[in-house]
């Protein structure tokens, strides 16, 4: 998995594999539902309604779900560009959410102009801190980041469970959740009566910034050089591969942590167990579907946001468990990873 495969396939022809992979995923989901004896029409109608069926479905569900997916998809992209596979975004998201909540509940009386940046920065720093151990273990001890980031997801789960039953538990000490964060720490909503919040423009800004950084700066060039071939980058390019690798993985964790902070600050307003329905893993599909290009990731994030929104409606209206849409993710990932391989070997 290198960036070189992603460089190709721009323009409208680049869209074909994206639509093909996503479409194949939905098709296979329909097939499995039919084989299992579910009413496929009812399921797909509920999926569509939940995602695009009304203005409110778009502005309160699809776009809101797309925000963390785009951000985490960008995080995964950043890692892959430098040859790092961050499978621990689920955990970094959780740590971002914990820290954002811890800061947000104490923001009473502050100006939102101070409280919101503080909460978001706290989340991003926590996300980066959570990936620090994998970075050190990889660079100092040669332990692959794949396993360490993965294991840290489960530790993050335990940390959330501890936080909502311990130091951050709501004042009555009855429910496993935190108190609500201060009004000043909540992201403003963009449309009257809809849940869409300031997180969407923030995330689009991050995507744009990342696109510029990757294509126009020395840092972006070094990232690609290290991702493509760390040894060659060091010998002929004079690039310190380990520093580039570390910075990519730390920023990847920061974006995932920011995702958790935005989820708390814009959607849930409190910390709950299982705040993420697997965004950290869905984001891998988002990044691959976006061809590891920031703007592609935005489009893919919107598609998967729609899928997640539709999954909720499918569970409510057609009695199909929401995890079913992970079949679409899996099929899309497998299709694209095979296509990427083909492109590389044919060139």
């Amino acid at each position: 998995m290198t960036a070189s495969g992603a460089e190709r396939g721009r323009g409208w022809r680049g869209l074909l594999p994206i639509i093909g992979a996503f479409g194949l995923g939905v098709l296979l989901l329909a097939l499995f539902l039919a084989l299992a004896g579910f009413d496929v029409t009812a399921a797909l109608v509920a999926l569509w309604r939940g995602a695009f069926g009304s203005w409110s479905a778009i502005a309160s569900a699809t776009l809101v779900r797309a925000v963390p997916l785009i951000l985490l998809g960008l995080g995964f992209t950043l890692g892959v560009r430098a040859g790092a596979l961050n499978i621990g975004m689920e955990g970094q998201f959780a740590l971002g959410a914990i820290t954002a909540t811890a800061v947000g509940v104490h923001a009473n009386g502050m100006s939102p102009l101070i409280a919101i940046p503080m909460v978001l920065a706290a989340g991003a720093i926590a996300g980066a801190a959570w990936v620090l151990l994998p970075v050190v273990m990889r660079l100092r001890l040669g332990v692959t980041e794949v396993i360490t980031t993965l294991l840290l997801n489960f530790l993050a789960d335990a940390a959330v469970s501890y936080a909502v039953l311990g130091p951050l538990q709501e004042p009555l000490h009855i429910y496993p959740q935190s108190a609500g964060i201060a009004a000043a720490a909540r992201l403003p909503r963009l449309l009257p009566g809809e849940r869409l919040h300031l997180g969407l423009p923030i995330v689009l800004g991050v995507a744009l910034l990342l696109a510029l950084l990757l294509s126009r700066t020395r840092w972006g060039f070094r990232l690609r050089a290290v991702g493509a071939n760390p040894v060659a980058a060091r010998i002929s390019g004079g690039i310190a591969a380990s520093g580039v690798f570390a910075s990519a993985l730390l920023w990847s964790g920061a974006l995932a942590g920011l995702g958790g902070a935005i989820e708390v600050s814009g959607v849930s307003f409190a910390l709950y167990p299982n705040l993420s329905p697997g965004y950290g893993f869905t984001a891998i599909a988002v990044a691959l579907l976006g061809r590891l290009q920031p703007l592609g990731v935005v489009i893919a994030g919107l598609l998967f946001g729609a899928l997640e929104a539709g999954a909720g409606a499918m569970q409510r209206d057609a009695g199909i468990p929401a995890v079913a849409v992970q079949v679409v993710e899996a099929v899309a990932i497998l299709t694209l990873v095979v296509l990427a391989r083909r492109e590389r070997s044919s060139s």
């Binding site: 040669g142 079913a324 990932i333 391989r341």
Partner: protein, 291 residues
């Protein structure tokens, strides 16, 4: 209390050992399969469905097939289409979470399968089970635990005593020279992955039929990933891997004992213990050998 802890450690360690011995065979061929988490989950559901229909024997058979099917998908994409194995393994696990969710809802409805599921009762081995301290822990367990005892020498022979093992290890150490020497690398790796999948399926069966007694969404909860850390701790040798599984079983079992006796430390710390242990193991083994 030590005897109870040991008994629980062996019971909890059994699925870990089955999955990790399977993954040892896979990794000796130079492949890492993160899809064993998914294969284990498929095996767990297969065990629940098979056991409901045809008793525990049926459960074990269906679990085995489900694990093989899940890993066949991994082999097709990672070995034959030569796609990135980490991404492929992650996707297989995701897909299995989705598929098992759909099938379980259809098969068992929203209430799940609990009271009606036949389970594997412990079988005491006459004589041995009366040994002091370890008798109950080692020799009054489910038949799948005894399978682990047989698997350790069997897998050692397969890896280090058979022609297949030689070809497999050659494929793992240097695929190009193995291929030059006439080893069908892809076929050898595929066989290893399918064997690993079968054992992951059995691990799922052991989890459902001998430990938990029911199936729930995502019930493997990362045990497949823990198994990958166990493979490293066990030095990629079946005996070492079985011993490491016992250690992780004990790390997990501690929480039951602690919960029962009450402790000043937060229980989440005990939940986190196996994962902390896995990280520590990786750090220590990383120092001595690059992974």
């Amino acid at each position: 209390m030590i005897a109870e802890l040991l008994t629980a450690a062996v019971r909890v360690g059994t699925p870990l050992a089955l999955a990790a011995i399977g993954e040892t065979i896979v990794e000796r061929g130079g492949v890492i399969n993160l899809g064993i988490e998914g294969a284990m989950l498929a095996g767990a559901l297969g065990a629940a469905i098979g056991a409901t229909a045809a008793g525990t024997g049926g459960g074990i058979a269906v679990a085995l097939l489900a694990g093989v099917a899940a890993s066949a998908l991994f082999a097709a994409v990672a070995v034959w289409a030569r796609a990135d194995e980490i991404i492929t393994g992650t996707a297989v696990t995701l897909g299995m979470i989705g598929l098992t969710g759909i099938i379980a809802r259809r098969a068992f409805g929203t209430v799940g399968v609990g009271l009606t599921l036949p389970t594997l009762a412990p079988v005491a081995i006459p004589g041995l089970s009366r040994l002091p301290l370890v008798g109950d822990a080692l020799f009054n367990q489910s038949p799948l635990t005894y399978l682990v005892y047989l698997l350790v020498p069997a897998a050692s022979w397969l890896l280090f005593g058979s022609r297949f093992g030689l070809e497999l290890r050659a494929s793992g150490e240097s695929p190009s020279s193995a291929a030059a020497a006439g080893v069908p690398v892809r076929r050898v790796r595929t066989i290893a992955i399918l064997v690993g999948g079968a054992l992951a399926g059995l691990a799922g069966a052991s989890l459902v039929l001998a430990q938990v007694g029911t199936f729930t969404e995502r019930m493997t909860g990362g045990r497949g990933f823990i198994a990958i850390a166990i493979v490293i701790l066990g030095g990629r040798r079946p005996g070492g891997v079985a011993a490491a599984s016992l250690l992780f079983g004990a790390a997990t079992a501690v929480q039951y004992v602690v919960q029962a006796s009450g402790s000043a430390l937060p229980y989440q710390l005990w939940l986190a213990l196996p994962y902390l242990l896995a990280l520590a193991v990786l750090a220590i083994s990383g120092r001595s050998r690059r992974i």
